[in-house]
């Protein structure tokens, strides 16, 4: 295969990755990495560099629209980024002392369970949990307009969400992934933020987490311009298109897509733990 053939294939896969990633808050690595490694035989280290680029491109490509429409909550994002960035630093330091393959398997199993959870709506639990006074003090409560209807929301269990975000950051640092999955789960299931706000705020946050690690991988020579170019352009275009769809898609469909993609990530993580490179 020559460069003129490789570029359009990677562009098309990245476009799909950006589209799905922007709607689910998961970034695009879940598609970009297996397409590069399994179908195109690219070395995993180049794929890691490309995957980080796809996460940042998804995040920034969709975030402009999400922030403008109020789907991404800037204060929730900024507050929780303290937890994810400190977590990522801890993960990077722990890196050499932790059995990464065992961790991958455990993380995969957690995600399988979370994918199952997110399929089930949890309207009943909303009434049972009171809004967290911390949410008020930190001005985390907000509103967004869904198809022209203004919806306001109050956050719950801020400390639990903060703790989970620290875990998400640590996992990112240890495994070199964006961990958008844990971010959406912390926002949606722990803090009970509306689902669209959860995915859009996760999408807003993953760019910051990935930017810190991307610069490290760039200086180590993992970012190959021949791969980065179609990934970056494809993901940007796909995520900008995805951002236009969020308002119009029903939450139940988004939850199903999210659960499906998280299920795939879970299987990738478990396979990676057993030594298969997906």
């Amino acid at each position: 295969m020559n460069v003129a053939e490789f570029v359009p294939i990677v562009f098309a896969a990245s476009f799909a990755a950006g589209f799905l990633g922007s709607l689910t808050g998961l970034g695009g690595g879940v598609i970009v990495t297996p397409v590069l490694t399994l179908f195109l035989g690219v070395d995993l280290r180049y794929a890691i560099g490309a995957s980080l680029i796809s996460v940042i491109a998804t995040s920034s490509g969709a975030a402009a629209a999400y922030v403008r429409d109020g789907y991404s909550n800037i204060r929730i994002g900024m507050f929780l980024e303290i937890a994810t960035t400190i977590g990522a630093l801890c993960g990077a330091f722990l890196g050499t002392h932790v059995p990464v393959s065992a961790l991958s398997i455990v993380f995969g199993l957690i995600l399988l369970q979370a994918a199952w959870q997110s399929m089930r709506e949890h309207q009943g639990t909303h009434a049972a949990l009171l809004p967290d006074p911390l949410g008020n003090r930190l001005r985390l409560n907000g509103s967004y307009s869904d198809n022209g209807v203004e919806q306001s929301y109050e956050v719950r269990r801020v400390k639990l969400g903060f703790g989970l975000m620290f875990g998400a950051g640590t996992i990112s640092g240890l495994l070199g992934i964006g961990s958008g999955s844990l971010k959406v789960i912390a926002l949606d299931q722990a803090m009970q933020v509306p689902f669209k706000v959860s995915t859009a705020t996760s999408n807003f946050m993953i760019g910051v987490t990935a930017a810190a690690s991307a610069s490290v991988y760039l200086s180590r020579g993992y970012v190959n311009p021949g791969i980065a170019m179609p990934v970056l352009l494809g993901v940007l275009a796909g995520s900008m298109l995805g951002a236009k769809f969020l308002a119009h898609l029903p939450v139940i469909l988004l939850r199903r897509v999210f659960a499906g993609v998280v299920g795939v990530i879970a299987i990738q993580m478990i396979a990676a733990g057993f030594g298969a490179k997906l």
Binding site: Y46, A64, T85, A88, V216, N224, M240
Partner: protein
């Protein structure tokens, strides 16, 4: 300064960053395909990128020398810079809103980010 205005400014920063990044990589990409389109796309074995592609200074030198791959790497560096710039701009916005709590929060995030960039 209101929250709505801050959101508009953050959105503008992101959109501008993404547009400039996309334009730079598109130009570099077209140039790259014209020059290297017929070469084999062989990424089976990992060879760390040449030093030209690994630091800001060397990338800029490559851009001046009209090297297609350096132009793409410049786009990648702009892509990485955009979320960091977004945190810095939000920090200024919170300061203009006189929201001390969030000035501190944004400053912590920015400090950790910059620390991880230099280590």
């Amino acid at each position: 300064m209101t929250d709505a205005k801050l959101e508009r400014i953050v959105a503008t920063v992101l959109r501008t960053g993404v547009s400039v990044t996309g334009a730079v990589v598109l130009v570099g990409g077209i140039y790259y395909v014209i020059r290297h389109g017929g070469e084999a796309a062989d990424y089976h074995t990992f060879v760390a990128q040449a030093t030209e592609d690994r630091s800001l200074r060397r990338v800029l030198a490559g851009v001046v020398a009209l090297r297609a791959r350096s132009l793409i790497q410049l786009g990648v560096l702009l892509l990485i810079a955009t979320p960091i710039l977004r945190v810095a701009v939000a920090l200024v916005g919170f300061a203009l809103e006189k929201d001390r709590q969030y000035v501190v929060i944004a400053a912590i995030v920015l400090a950790i980010l910059l620390y991880s960039l230099v280590t």
